[in-house]
Every structure is written in structure tokens, then in C-alpha cells.
């Protein structure tokens, strides 16, 4: 069942050297993308969950490099609605395209797809597990603004349990010896496997009730929304105190506020006009990263 085709399912699939190469490639792509690099190639976009940025940035990247796209943005208009298994869907899509990008609500779905496809598979988010291309976008955005990824003070906040962007990013950042601060709402704790990963690598981290108490220490503030669509428990979650402009009075001038979007009450519009807001630039960087990935995997 297992193939030997290289895929990107987890951020752990990439070595530090490979991450550096992708970030460097993204810099070049952002300046001067080679317009016919992927002429004749087809990307299959298999999105079983809603997406704006990830799906469209992959498609934008592919078109900008001269390639084409096919696929679906929701599964209800596919044979999945007739009960077709994911494995069968991927085997069929692999015959129609040169690379598959998949987003699916079940954890491990991208790994299964990579195991059965005879073309590369890129994980665009599998349940609450991983989102490696968002992580690469985040790393790229941080380095672009901060000038480095080394030894930064970074807060990861919001939904620590179900936000896959936090899981992937925490793992990726551990290469660069950050000081991490985690702020969560209610019982939304960090999964054991992420804690284990960080402890194994000797990363310093701490947990905090509110982000406001740590703002002056930070280089990067990474916000996420509550992933209510993934909650496996009933009962209310104590809402986090939303960030306000007034909270930013004593922050570093170089503070960078990131959010993978879409946002909810955790990131009000008033923050957009502060010099620290970097999330729309972050979204734009996603196209360059996906161009770099398509070049690498095709």
C-alpha cells in the first residue's frame, strides 16, 4: 500500500535544511515567478472542508507558474456523497493530476492519501492535526518581518487543542530555539504529543491565562479562533478577552501580530490599523510559499 513518492503531510516530514530551501525559494518566487515552470502540469484540489486562503492560494500559485487546476471545494457534489471512500477518491484523482492537495476533517486523512496515491500529496489541513503549508507561510512571514527565526519570544493563543496551525507551528519553531508562551481558553489545552515534542527538544514554554500579561515580552503574537466545528465536548468555553489597541501601549516596536484567518472576536478590526498587524501580508505570503512547494514537489 505504501508508495515511495515524496509528499508533505506533516511539518515533521521536512528537515531544517529543506525548510530553509523552501523559504529561500519563496523569496525568489515572490519577486519573479517563472511563468511556464509548470506548463502542462495539473493540480488536483480536493477540499472536503471549507477554505478560502489555502485553496485559492494553491490555485493562484499553480496558475502563476503556468499550470492548471481541477478538483472540488466541497465533497457533496462528488462521489463521496454516494459513499465512496477517501482511499478510492484519491486513487481516482491521482490518475487525473500530477499532484494532489487535500483538506479533510479527519486526522490522518492526508497520510492515508499520501500512502495510496502515486503522485505527491500536500496536506492542506487534516482535522486538528497538521497544516504544514500554513506553518511554512507563518515561518516565512516571521522571518521576513523579524529578520530571523532564532530565539524569538512567540505567543501562540486561542484554541490550543483544535487549531492545527498552532500544532504545526510549535513543532517547526522548535528548530529555532524560541521562548514560547501559550494562552488558551478554558479547557483547550495543548495536545500531549505537542508537549512531548517540545520537551524532547528542550524548548522553554509557559502557559498563561491571558495574552495581555505577556504582550510586552513578545516579538510575535499568533492568534487563532475557536475551532468550534471540531469541538468534541459540550458546554460553554469561557471567552478570551479580545485584543484591544490599548493593550499594545507597552509592546515592542517590532511586535508582529499574525493570524491564519478567518478571524472572530479574538482579533477585532481596530487592530488592523496598528503598525503591528501583519496578517493580511501573511495571507499574501501564502501564494509564494505554495509556488515554492509546487516547484519542489512537481
Amino acid at each position: 500500500m505504501l508508495t515511495t513518492i515524496r509528499s508533505l503531510v506533516s511539518i515533521q516530514d521536512l528537515s531544517s535544511k529543506e525548510i530553509e530551501e523552501i523559504l529561500h525559494s519563496a523569496e525568489q518566487m515572490q519577486v519573479d515567478p517563472p511563468k511556464d515552470l509548470l506548463k502542462g502540469k495539473i493540480l488536483a484540489s480536493c477540499f472536503f472542508e471549507p477554505s478560502t486562503r489555502t485553496r485559492l492560494s494553491f490555485e493562484s500559485a499553480m496558475y502563476r507558474l503556468g499550470g492548471n487546476c481541477l478538483g472540488f471545494a466541497e465533497s457533496k457534489n462528488t462521489a463521496t456523497a454516494k459513499g465512496e471512500s477517501l482511499e478510492d477518491t484519491i486513487r481516482v484523482m491521482a490518475n487525473m493530476a500530477d499532484l494532489i492537495v487535500i483538506r479533510h476533517p479527519k486526522e490522518g486523512s492526508a497520510r492515508l492519501a499520501a500512502d495510496v496515491a502515486h503522485v505527491p500529496v500536500i496536506n492542506a489541513g487534516d482535522g486538528a492535526n497538521q497544516h504544514p503549508t500554513q506553518t511554512l507561510t507563518d515561518l516565512y512571514s516571521i522571518r521576513k518581518k523579524q529578520g530571523t527565526l532564532e530565539n524569538l519570544h512567540i505567543a501562540l493563543t486561542g484554541d490550543l487543542t483544535f487549531a492545527r496551525t498552532i500544532h504545526s507551528l510549535a513543532q517547526a519553531l522548535s528548530t529555532y530555539q524560541p521562548r514560547l508562551y501559550f494562552c488558551s481558553e478554558g479547557n483547550l489545552t495543548l495536545p500531549e504529543e505537542i508537549l512531548h515534542y517540545l520537551k524532547q527538544r528542550g524548548i522553554k514554554f509557559s502557559f498563561h491565562e491571558t495574552m495581555q500579561e505577556i504582550l510586552p515580552k513578545l516579538d510575535v503574537l499568533y492568534l487563532t479562533r475557536l475551532q468550534k466545528e471540531r469541538f468534541t465536548f459540550s458546554g460553554a468555553i469561557k471567552p478570551a478577552v479580545p485584543l484591544k489597541s490599548a493593550d499594545l501601549a507597552d509592546v515592542k516596536k517590532t511586535l508582529q501580530i499574525l493570524h491564519p484567518l478567518p478571524r472572530q472576536e479574538e482579533l477585532p478590526k481596530e487592530i488592523d490599523n496598528t503598525p503591528y498587524a501583519n496578517y493580511f501580508e501573511q495571507a499574501k505570503n501564502g501564494v509564494a510559499i505554495r509556488m515554492a512547494l509546487l516547484k519542489r514537489f512537481l
Binding site: L86, K106, E107, G108, E192, E193
Partner: protein, 153 residues
């Protein structure tokens, strides 16, 4: 060659030095009861080295190391003894495998392995504190105690 003091079988396999209360779960895990062989289980027996132990005797067959790989994870101190003419002819310990497939179920209800009816697969990682089982699909990490504690087969 020595003989086992607890009991005697003419030919077969004895899995000895299983920690107390684990034999019945191991029997289920290894599906030994489904192979048609006559099986005897000793629970909470006195042991000079362990204080108390469990034991499993399978008559008429020499179980191969590959079939007993889960022992290395869930009963690492258990010895596997082949018996011929009431005598131990070989004694060995199960080696920790790199992966374990089909035998266990991922505890995460949102893991794709439940939905698709595919074979489970765990990567095995030995650490000083515990042996860890990492789901190949959803990447969740479990200790061997957690997997044995739940009814996960």
C-alpha cells in the same frame, strides 16, 4: 536443559514472567485463543524474581518471534520458551518492533483509520520513561499502559 517448575507440557510454547493481571489482555491482543491450540493461563502465580506473575501455555505449536512482537511492548520482561519433550529447547525475548500493524485500534475517534476500515499502524518509540506508540495516520502518541488499559482491539 531445565524444565519449568510450574507445569509441564510435552510440546509447545510457554510465555513466562508476564506481569500480573496482563495475561488475559495479551491473550486477546495476540489472538492466541483463536488459533485452535489448547491454552492454559496461570494468573497471579508466585514468582521468585517478580513476586507474582502471569503465564500462558500454548500446546502443540512453537510460536514464532514475529507473532509475539506485541510482547516486547506490553510485557517486555516476558520470556518465550519453546518446549520439546517436556524440556525447554529455546528461550528468547520478543524484540521491540519498529511498527505494529492491525492489532490495535487508534484511541482517537477522529482518526481516519476508523472510517476507512484500513489496517491500523503504530510506530514504536522506546524512551526511558515508557514505550510510545505513535499512530501512523493521526500522529497521536500513546503509552503502552494507555493502549493496554483501554479495550483497543
Amino acid at each position: 536443559m531445565s524444565t519449568l517448575s510450574v507445569t509441564a507440557i510435552q510440546m509447545g510454547t510457554v510465555i513466562d514472567h508476564i506481569r500480573p493481571h496482563a495475561a488475559l489482555k495479551l491473550l486477546q491482543l495476540l489472538k492466541l485463543d483463536q488459533q485452535g491450540a489448547q491454552i492454559t493461563v496461570g494468573l497471579n502465580l508466585k514468582s521468585a524474581s517478580m513476586g507474582r506473575k502471569d503465564l500462558i501455555k500454548i500446546e502443540g505449536t512453537h510460536l514464532q518471534e514475529k507473532a509475539l512482537e506485541p510482547l516486547a511492548i506490553f510485557a517486555p520482561k516476558a520470556s518465550i520458551n519453546w518446549i520439546e519433550n517436556f524440556t525447554i529447547t529455546q528461550k528468547f525475548f520478543a524484540k521491540l518492533p519498529k511498527t505494529l500493524s492491525k492489532i490495535l485500534t487508534c484511541p482517537s475517534s477522529n482518526c481516519i483509520s476508523h472510517q476507512e476500515g484500513i489496517d491500523s499502524c503504530f510506530h514504536i518509540q522506546a524512551t526511558p520513561m515508557a514505550t510510545l506508540l505513535i499512530c501512523h495516520f493521526c500522529e497521536r502518541i500513546y503509552t503502552q499502559q494507555r493502549m493496554l488499559a483501554d479495550d483497543l482491539t
